[in-house]
Structure formats: C-alpha cells, structure tokens
C-alpha cells in the first residue's frame, strides 16, 4: 500500500513546519511527504526542505490549488501510488489520522475519506470581534462535522483540509478542475456522478486555522458559495448533483425568503392581538427538540468548547447575526455567479 501526502502551499512559511511534523509522526507513515510550492515568494520551500519534506515547485501555474495539484500529479503520472492524502498547509492531523482513514478503502466503492474539521486554537492576540468570529466558526465547523456523519457515504463535500483519495478513482474523475475555485467540491460531485461513495471519518482528526478578520472571512465565504454554485451550473443535473441543486432551491431560496416573511408575520400577529399570548404544548416540544439537537451536536462535535462559547450559544444573537451575514454573502455569490463576474480566490 503506497500513500503520498501532498500539501499545496502558497506563502505558508508560518504554518508549514507544523503540518509536516504532524505527518512525520503518523502511525502509518506516507512514503512521500511533498510540499507543492505554488508561486511562493517567502521561505515556504526552504522551511519544508529543512524539515524533511520533498518540495515540488510549480511552473507558471495560474490555476491556484487545482493547478498546483494537477501539475504534480501530471509530473508523477507513471509512478505507482494507491492513495493520496491531500492536505492544506495550515492544517495539522492527529498521529493516527491515516491509519483510521485508510480503513474505509476496504470498501471498493469508496473514492475519498475526509477528516473531521477541527479548529486550531488562536495563536495570536485578538480583539473582541475577532474572538467572537473565531467562536462562531468553531461551533459552525462542529455542526458541519455532525452533518457529515449524518450523511456519510454521500457527504456534501470532501473538503480539502485533510482527505484521503484513491488515486485510480481520482484519475477517472478527471483530476482537479482548474476552472473551479472550489476544486474539492467539484471533485466530490464528479465522484458522486460516477457512483462512488464519499465518506467522512470523524475519528480521523485534523485541525485548521480559521480567519478571524471579517473581510478575510467574507472573501472566503463568497469564494465557497460562488464556487459551489458555479460547479453545479457547470456540471448540471445528474445523480451526483441533484440533491445539492434541490437544496439550493429549497433551503437557500424558498426557506430563507419564507423565514423572513414568517418572522414579519409573527410580529404583525403579536401586534394585532394586542400582545396577548396563548400556549400550545407542541411549541414547547419543538423548542426542547431543537435545543437538545443543537446542544448535542455542539457538545459532541465542536472542539474545545469553553464556558464562554456556551454563553455565546445561549445568547443566540451572535449566531443569528452570523447567519444573516452568511445569507447575504450567499445571495451576493448568486449574483456574481449569474452575472458571470470574474472569479477571485
């Protein structure tokens, strides 16, 4: 069984060392740890080499991560390798990550296995707003993990943070799409189109760095949403995409619009009834169920949840504001996608 770990890196001198070290102590060691230095202008390549990784430098790559991966895979297309661990340069993995993830490939239908998406602790001092953004993402990533467990086998996206792929199926899926700004999502859709399974393994632990600056976060989310919409438009309706297309129509458009109308209607009703209130047991049951589900997911899937995190969750307002921000960014991404504006990373 031959496994390679590939880490595309664009000016990642601050984080690359930790990423490499986490791979070197794996209980099942990858035969090669390759840092794909893509248009770096800092010391990423030197640090990677000094820390025992191989370095592959891309040439004239204008297609970001997808282009970097493809250049290396093209360069090594005759080499024999069974599995590839694709990993972000700002991510670290637990020492048993490969050992746990690789077991899923016993099932011949599995094309890829992605890790849990943990969030690394803050390494630099942050102001109040930045800490709130950090906490919100920590909880959000935990909820995403719970959703991946819920839908395992057919997860929405095999994220690029840390994921094992079967090399032969990757080839069949056409490698990475260089036009896509969310190449991992595009690849996941291609796997699904071919009828392969995409799996999430919650015990395969990995932790990444999340943006704490609001502008950076907004840019990241617009790229995610835009990339997702573009990928679905590009691939079209098939057995791999139909659920996501329906989800876009149902959740992103109908539900959100209805939710705003609904809340407005509630406030109107409360007002015209002179603020009189009536009780129904079903309402209480819904509240308890929603709260229980939410607490369960956060408690079991979000990393290092502190008392302050719980306080923020209980306060609700930050999360509601955060959701509204995401919704706005999503609609902005729809406009960008349908207006065919220039894609930005």
């Amino acid at each position: 069984m031959i496994i390679w770990a590939l880490i595309p890196a664009y000016n990642e001198e601050k984080t690359i060392c930790k990423t490499i070290k986490s791979l070197q102590v794996q209980t099942i060691k990858p035969q090669r740890i390759v840092v794909i230095a893509d248009n770096c202008s800092d010391n990423t390549a030197k640090i990677a080499k000094d820390n025992g990784a191989e370095v592959f430098v891309t040439k004239n790559n204008k297609n970001k991560k997808a282009g970097a991966y493809n250049q290396f895979l093209q360069f090594t297309k005759k080499d024999k390798v069974d599995y590839l661990l694709f990993m972000d340069a700002d991510t670290i993995v637990a020492e048993d990550a490969i050992e746990i993830g690789i077991k899923h490939f016993k099932n011949k239908k599995v094309a890829a296995v992605c890790s849990k998406a943990g969030v690394q602790s803050l390494s630099v001092p942050c102001n109040f707003l930045e800490r709130i953004l950090y906490r919100l993402q920590k909880i959000e990533y935990g909820i995403y993990d719970s959703q991946r467990v819920q839908t395992t086998g057919h997860i929405k996206v095999v994220h690029g943070m840390a994921a094992l792929h079967r090399r032969s199926y990757l080839k069949k899926a056409g490698m990475f799409n260089e036009d896509s700004i969310t190449e991992d999502y595009y690849l996941t859709l291609m796997y699904k189109k071919l009828g392969y399974l995409v799996v999430s393994e919650i015990k395969m632990r990995a932790w990444t760095v999340v943006p704490t600056k609001i502008v950076k976060l907004c840019k990241q989310r617009i790229r995610w949403y835009r990339g997702g919409i573009d990928a679905l438009k590009d691939i079209g309706w098939n057995r791999g995409t139909y659920k996501d297309i329906l989800q876009h129509i149902w959740v992103n458009i109908i539900t959100i619009v209805l939710a705003y109308i609904y809340v407005g209607w509630i406030l109107y009703m409360v007002r015209i009834n002179n603020y009189k209130i009536a009780y129904h047991w079903l309402i209480l049951l819904i509240m308890i169920s929603c709260l229980y589900d939410r607490i369960y997911r956060i408690k079991n899937y979000a990393d290092n949840i502190s008392a302050r995190d719980w306080l923020m969750v209980a306060f609700l307002i930050p999360e509601i504001v955060y959701n509204q921000l995401q919704t706005m960014l999503l609609y902005f991404a729809y406009i960008q996608s349908f207006a065919k504006t220039k894609k930005t990373w």
Partner: protein
C-alpha cells in the same frame, strides 16, 4: 467548508414558532411546527444511527 446553505439556527426557528404560538393558536403555524419537529427528529435519529455504525 460545506460551501453554502447557511440556515437559520434550529433554535431560531423554534423561537419564531414559539412567538407565534404564544401570540395565537394558529393551525397553519402548528402544522409548520409539526413539520419542523419531524425534520429535526429525523435528522437527529439519522445522526445517532450513523454514529453507532
């Protein structure tokens, strides 16, 4: 990470329903509430079932 689909927190939905439920016993709202409850329970059971695998 999941490339989209932000939804209002489930608790937000619960609170919205509570507000309306508190304001008036409205059968349309109760029906919507029952659907929301069914979705939450279905997803939770699916999660717990997959955890056991």
């Amino acid at each position: 990470m999941d490339y989209g689909i932000p939804v209002l927190p489930a608790t937000g939905g619960g609170i919205a329903l509570t507000m309306l439920g508190l304001s008036r016993n409205n059968y349309i709202v109760l029906a919507l509430g029952a659907i929301l409850l069914a979705i939450v329970l279905f997803n939770h059971i699916k999660l717990r079932k997959n955890e056991d695998k």
